[in-house]
Each structure stands twice: as structure tokens, then as C-alpha cells.
Symmetry: C2
Subunit: 499 residues, 2 copies
Amino acid sequence: MKFYLKAIINFSKDLEGIDIGKILKDSKEILEKGAPKGKGAKIISWKVENNILLIEIESSKWVRPHDGLFRLKNFLSDKLGKKYKVGVRGTSGSLYMITLTLPKEPKEEVTIPFVREIKFKGKKCTLILENLDEEFLRKNYIDRIISLVEEKVNNQYYRGKEEFHEVMWQSKPRKHFFDKDPSQEMEKRNWVKHRGRGQWIFGPIATKIMKTFESIVYDELLKPLGFQEVIIPKAVTWDVWTKSGHAKNLYPEIYYICPPKTRNKEEWENIIDFYKITNEVPIDAIKENIKSPIGGMSYAQCPPLWPYFQNKVIADESLPIKVFDRSGTSMRYESGGIHGIERVDEFHRIEIVWIDYHEGVTKIRDEIVECYKKIFNDILELEWRMSWVTPWFMSQEGLTGLAEKDKNKRDVGTIDFESFLPYSKSWLEFQNVSNNGDKYPKGFGVKSQTGKQLYSGCSGVGLERWLVTFIAQKGMEPKNWPSKFKERIGELPKEIKFL
Amino acid sequence: MKFYLKAIINFSKDLEGIDIGKILKDSKEILEKGAPKGKGAKIISWKVENNILLIEIESSKWVRPHDGLFRLKNFLSDKLGKKYKVGVRGTSGSLYMITLTLPKEPKEEVTIPFVREIKFKGKKCTLILENLDEEFLRKNYIDRIISLVEEKVNNQYYRGKEEFHEVMWQSKPRKHFFDKDPSQEMEKRNWVKHRGRGQWIFGPIATKIMKTFESIVYDELLKPLGFQEVIIPKAVTWDVWTKSGHAKNLYPEIYYICPPKTRNKEEWENIIDFYKITNEVPIDAIKENIKSPIGGMSYAQCPPLWPYFQNKVIADESLPIKVFDRSGTSMRYESGGIHGIERVDEFHRIEIVWIDYHEGVTKIRDEIVECYKKIFNDILELEWRMSWVTPWFMSQEGLTGLAEKDKNKRDVGTIDFESFLPYSKSWLEFQNVSNNGDKYPKGFGVKSQTGKQLYSGCSGVGLERWLVTFIAQKGMEPKNWPSKFKERIGELPKEIKFL
């Protein structure tokens, strides 16, 4: 790697009469600090013009030129301030060139914000940036630009590759009582009603089935394993998604939330008047009158819990933390087309979260899996399977592969639960369970009393997906439903009759 | 009222050689249709220029000139088409003048979209509109413009007037065990955690209290009165708010929902790259990449249920419909400042909805009030009161006053439930119950089997407000809590300890 920066430093006064050359020579040591001898940043030329110092700095692996520039700025401030009453004002870069060798040869062009030109020659890559302000240099954008180039070239090799998926357990086959599309059949009988894009109203019967699932999860898993209910916000602000990693990738699937620019009614009068005259909502004028998004609707459900623990040290006596949430909807802008309630934009989940040391998190994950097994085998009598897949916390960041190189270890990572849908002869992911490793405690700065790294796990129970699974396999006639489920659900509400 | 319209009608061919005067004379009858003899729209001048007919039409109370224009257009099409092979093309208005007498003299200027000039002279008002296209004339914007002028002048008299509020029942005073701000005290002990604007995370203890409230409402009200659970969407699309009336007024308080313009990741690449380099979410660039809002987050909770019944005829055997929802969050962009959990932007309610004939709706409302009385007096032992107020379905449309002139009737309208907060010595509205009259069945076209008008009612149980009320009066020490509540809540979860 080779770095070259052409920069200027502004001073409060003319530098005439000051031996800048001497001072710059003395700065050699600070430009090498932290690097092996002779390997730090180097000034390769300099020139004074009135109150401006023009300077060229070079470096290789150690000490970036912009770091050198700021070290130099401080050094000059120190040397010139007291003795000559000259203050250092600002600095900026007119040209930054970086030459690096990529792990792989790029297959096609790459563009990067802030970078004027990227040249490739085999694995060799040259980046040229111009007119960089002090903030740009100070915030270390340069290193993140280099990472991004490497990431993009790397992605050219992995693009189109499937996510990891390996079936790890499969139930016995079951007799199926239904071969139709549950969404269509339920809609015919007013159990559910389709609304806008991926949105449904659930009538009394469908809701009772979903609430019975919820109570089964409570009775058979949450209560015996000692989970406590919490209420996690459903509007997720950017601070959460920057810490959870979602801000790296998730934009195309978010439903964004924008508050009004003002609560002052007078500034909404035109829109209100327009509506009252035309009976049409002027959505484009409204867009002009709302703020940029503060975030979006809950996507993965557990991230907005983490600010509760953020930058805290959890006492050992409070471990393991075991909580769950069922307080509202999540939303995803899913791919278009009609999928019924198996792929919805607005959906309901029980989200289960636990925090502990490494072994504890894995142990709880395994206990949860056992509870699910009991529920699906003995109570719902489903045909289902478990698969070891790309962890959700990686795929939602746009990453593929597995959390651990040893895929047989099955420790940190995600298990998807998949059910067989007779009507489409396909498998549907209807929930998952994960050991999320240290990702969240690290991302949100959550520490343990002992100083040992905390881990966390989570499991999302998709109630719409359970409903599809159940109806697809068991049908809409309670006489065909498993007896333990029938006991729990009791009498169904009467269907609402429309003439 | 006096109306004057100067308009043109375009034809497919030159009108030379056709006796337009004769045809226009023959149109007199159709221009008077529906009005008393001699009182309809009148042509006061006309002129032919090549393939254009310039025309001036006047009318008073009956037959608007633009209605007359379209009648004339059809008449001409009929008369000229077959005989002369001349087709009528389009029409437009170059000038529309309306003179009307307002019920009250305006106190200040009024502006209205589409209207170039509004002149007032005492109660007399003249509106001048220019260059109106055919769509404008056809969609009857004119009448809604007149209504809007009247509404705005009327509002000049009522602005600043308080909403109606009359205490109708008050509980006995109670001993208070706490004099502090519940939000602050709960936050100190990690029962709750403040997030962004009006948003909180509820930890295990606060959640258990709220869920116990929920179970009390279920056991003491919903179950005995036979309400069935449903799941109502929480993202509300414009079609719902146009039918519910909220689109007339609610814009300054909505959290808007905007989907991405595209799910195509390449079109988000710049934003993703920018984030990866700067670690800052470029919210303004995101705003450019999202669609205009499809609606907003649930505000009043029951409106998005109504599409389930929309344009349906409900069988008598299914009446009364009695349902409730507790499936997610509502959001309101509340006024700024810190209000703790008594005024939150994201909140949780049980929403109870019923539909029946008029007497049935009132009867169920009264039964619900009795259940609440029992809960607040015997189980929670609260100091509270009920007030007859401006109905929520009016105030959310920007209206004041009452649904019925006879305020003592207390039939169609809203009862607010208010609790005393010792720490601030003020009353807090913590829930309400309403007979909403025919508003929703009419707005969503829901009919009864008999043809008799259906009514509906709703009641919103604000769980955050219940929590504030309870802690404000009873404090955070279970030993001071009412015994019936203590029985129900059982053991509290342990507080999570942070070091």
C-alpha cells in the first residue's frame, strides 16, 4: 500500500522570517510514532506562500498521510504559537492518491463516493481523490474507502451465490388434511381480509388461532424457561440500526417513518384545503411537508430492545437476561406479487431475547429448540425440519456464509424452522432461533460484571407463518386438528355472516 | 347566491352554416331541469368563432353554471352529431364568479386554493376563479370551495374556544401513596427507559403491570360482554383516512409511512456506500429515494378495522359485532417537551369496537361503562371521574361542540375517563368510550340486513396512561397496592441490576 497526500495548512499570519524547514525536520520523529523506524509518514516536499504551507506527504502501511498531517498541524501549532504568535487555522487536501494490491483481480468497474477515479491494473488499484476538507481527512474516511473497494471487488466473486442452507433435522412425514392455499380459502370465509400491499385484517377465528399459538409458546416455552415480558418500541431510530449493523444494508426493505415538519396547523392549511376541495389526498405535497426519515418500522424486532442495556454493566445476579416481546407489528417492504399471508409486509411475531456468557447463550438456545420440538411434534403435529443457515444478523447486513468456519460446530449462527406446505409442495421458513455471538453486546457496549464477553440469542416466532403452516397441513375443519391443539383453542368464535 | 361562468366549448369542425342560436334556444328546458320554472341556469350571451362556442352562463340557487355547461355539451353533441357530423371536443372555463351571502361577517382575509381572488363586503362575498379545466368543472370543486369559505369564516368566530367538557360522574377521594412523577421514578429504577421523542422501552416490571391491566380488562369486560379478539393493521392507508374523516384534519400529528422507491439494491448503492464510508446515515438522500407517504401509523386505532366490513351487508344473526384489538402500537406526533409516559408518541391501547343498531350501541356502551366502574373502583381503587366531551370523531376532524344539540342526552358522543395525578395535582384523560353514531357504517358503506341504519361504538384503553395513573396514586411499593390488584399480578419480576 502506498499513500500520497498533497495538502495545505493555513496560518493566521505570514510565515516570513520563520525557519519552517528546521521545524519540519524536527517533526520527523512524531511522523514516525507507532511505526517501525523509517517506516512512518514522510514529508517529500514543502513550500511556503505567505500564510500557507503547501506540503506533500507519503507513507506506506504505517501512519496514514492525513494522520501525519494532523500530527504536523499540532506540532506546528505548538512550535509557532508561543514563540511567533502564529496560529494554525485550517487544513485541507488537494490530492490524495492511494495504491494498493487487492486480494483478487476485479471483474468489472467499481465506483465509490468521494473518489474521483479508480484505476485497476491486474490486482493493483489506484484511487484518486481531490479537494478534501478537513472533516473528510479527520474522520478517517480513507480507510473505510479502502475497505469498501476490497468489499466490492470481493462481492464480484460471490454475487449470485446462494445463502448457506443445510438441513440438520427433519420430522416424520404427516398425513395432510388440506391441499389448498390457506390464504385464499381463509379469505373466502372471512377469516382474513386482504388490504393493501402485504397487509391483512385477521377476523375473530384467525385471530383466535394465532392467539392460541401465542399461549402455547407462553405455556410450553416462555414460562417454563423463565422468560419475562417486555415492551420493545416498534419505531426504530437510526441510532439503533447503526449499532445493530442494519444501516449497512437494509434500505431497500424498510418502511420509513417521517414526522411532519411542523405541528403548526397553518402550515398544513394548503394541504387540508386542497383535500377538502378535491377529496384527494395530495401525497406529493405532503412529502414536501414532512421531515427526512427518523428511521423505520421494526424490521428484525430485537435491535430496538438493546438501548435498554446500552453502555451498562449487567450484574452477574441478573444473568441470564431472558425476555420476550409481543407488543406490535414489524414491517418489511417485501418483493411484489401476491403471496397471501405467507409473505406479508406487516406481520406479528413473538420475539425472544436472551443475554448471558457464551456457554449460557448456547445452552438456552438448545433448551428453546427442545421446547419448539415438543410444540411442533406433540401439540401441533406438524411436518417440519430445522436447517443451519447463514445467520440472520449476517444476511441482514448483506453478508453470506456462516458465522463460524466450522459449519458442523453449530454454535454461533441461525437455525431456520421450515414447514412443508402441501398446496405448493414447498418448504416455508416459519421461525428461527439464533446464537448471535457477541455482536449485540459489542455493538451496544453492554458489559458483564466479570469483564468476560457477553453473548446473546434471539428467536422470532412468526404468527402469520404458523397460521399458514397449520392451515396448509391441517385444513380449516377443527375435526381434523390435533387433539391437544383442539383442547387448547376451545370453541371457535362464530363466523361473521355477510349477505 | 349568484353564479357566473364564462366558458368555451370546442368542436371537431367549423360551425359555419349551423343555426347555433336556434339550438341554444331549444336547450332552455334542459338548463332548467330540477329548478322551479324560470330559475335554472341561463345563457346570457354566446358567440361562435370558427370551431369554438364562447358562452356566458348565469344561475342562482338552482343548477350551477358548470352543470348547465355539461348539460349543454351533451345537448349539442346530440343535435350536431348526427345531422352535421360535428363532434363536441372539450370544454373549459375562462372565468367563474360566485357571489354569496355568508352567515357571519368575516373578521379577516381568507385564502382558498384554486381561487384567484376573494372579496368581502360585509357578509357579502365574491369569489373569482380563472382558467378552469374540464376536470375542475366536472368534479364539482365549486360547491366544496363555497363550503370551505363558509367553514373558514365560521372558524374565525370559534377559534380558541375550548372543547366541550362537563364532568358527569366523580369517584370518592382516595388516599394517595405517592407524590412523585411516575415516569422519573420508574426510570430511576430501570422499570422504563426513555428513548427518542415520546418513545419508551418498558422493562419486565412495568410490562407486567401493563399486562395485568390488560388481563383485568379481558376478565372483567371483554370476556363477560362477549368480545372477540381481532387483529387490526397498524399501518393506515389513505383510503381508510378519507372514509374515516381523518384526512380532513390530522396531517400535523401523523407519523407518515413511506416505502422505498425501489427494492433494487443497485439504486441504493450510493446511500449504502456513503454510510459505509462516513458511518452517518444520509437521511436527506434517503428522503429522495423513498415514495410519497402511503399513509401513516395507526392514530385512532379503530378506522383500519372498517375495511373488513366495507360495502358489506351484515346479517342480523351476526349482530351485535363485538371485537377488540391489542395487536400493536399507535403513534402520534405529540407536542414537544418532556411529558414522561403520560404523553407519548408511540403507545399501546386495547381498542374495543362494536356495531349494532342505535339502541344496541348505546346499551353496550353503558354496559362497558359499568365494567370500567367496577375495575377502577373495586380492583384498582382509583380516584377518577367521567366527563362528557367533544366526541373524538369530531375533534379529530377539527370540529368542536357536541354530536347532539341536547348535551344532556349523552347518547351519541364521547365520555373521557380522567384520573387524578397527585404529583401534578391535575387530571389526566386515561381512556374513553364513545357511541360514534352512524359515522363509520356510513363512511365505509356498511349496511344492515333490515336496511335500518347501523351505529357503532369504540373504547380505547390507554395502557401507558393506566400505568401513570396507577403509579401516581399508588406508588411503586406493592405493599401499598390494592389487594385485588396484588392478587392478580402475583410476584413481580426481579429488577434488572446494572453496576
